[in-house]
Amino acid sequence: MNKKASSILMIIFELLAVILIIWITTEVAYGMGKSDTVVKVNLATDLKMMVNTLAGVSGDVVIEYPLNVVNYTFTLSQNSVSVFKKTESDQQKVTRTFILPTGYFASGSLDEKSRLCLEKKDKNIFLRECLAEEK
């Protein structure tokens, strides 16, 4: 291999490496910027705190989450709340856990509806769509 050929190959390799690095960095930053992860984490954390608050209320209560949540699906179980998008894999699901007093039950789900309500009735906490009259 002569000197000219090897230095042209090297320049091509360097250019490719630089382009690849810029592309990867931009893709990662763009992905993070438009990702729903932050929204899902905030939703799950808010709902966890709402459930904890409901567990500290003595009467029956209905509270509405003050944001439109039409893009997300929610499931509430005995000790956790999960937020995800239907198209996403299980690894992208965001889950937050909580501890309820003995005798309390939590359940419910919401599938891409705009209004989310949490209801405490006696010792049961439900996650459901808000009713039309609940405004």
Binding site: M1, A55, G56
Partner: protein, 155 residues
């Protein structure tokens, strides 16, 4: 290929090995900055979290709040001294026996009564303290007191 040409190729290889390390470090730092930024966007004050949790100790009759047996009415902010026991605490807030140290754990103390109870994974790691003015229902009546809640975040 002359000796100079061989040296030129070798020099470039060494250069790219060093640059490879630098680029890897830069990419890792960039990823850490993004993760740190994401964490800042989603962080919640531990005091706020603990306050929401502690609310049940003061206001829920299934925890320590006084409930009138005749009317069934619960009085938030009035602690029933008869309920202020470890058994009641375990009914009210019971983290997992094995891995409960990753959850919030609490030590509840009534300063005038000099009575304390703890959750099942409280290991005296005092992260911060919450104070609430309460009334304590005893057999003789109501007394003013301060409920001091020592909070242990995850270990």
């Amino acid at each position: 290929m002359s000796d100079d040409d061989v040296f030129e190729v070798a020099r470039k290889n060494i250069y790219w090995m060093l640059i490879g390390v630098v680029i890897t470090v830069v990419v890792f730092v960039f990823a850490l900055i993004l993760i740190n930024h994401q964490n800042r966007l989603t962080s919640v004050s531990p005091r706020l979290n603990a306050d929401f949790l502690a609310h049940r100790f003061l206001a829920n009759s299934d925890c320590f709040a006084y409930q009138d047996k005749d009317t069934g009415r619960t009085y938030p902010g009035i602690i029933d001294l008869n309920k202020f026991t470890t058994e009641q605490m375990n009914k009210c807030y019971l983290p997992d026996k094995e891995k409960g140290y990753i959850d919030y754990n609490f030590k509840l103390s009534l300063s005038n009564e000099q009575k304390s109870i703890i959750t099942n994974n409280f290991y005296n790691k005092d992260d911060f303290t919450l104070h609430y003015l309460v009334l304590v229902k005893t057999t003789t009546g109501l007394k003013k007191d301060t409920l001091i809640i020592t909070v242990q975040q995850k270990i």
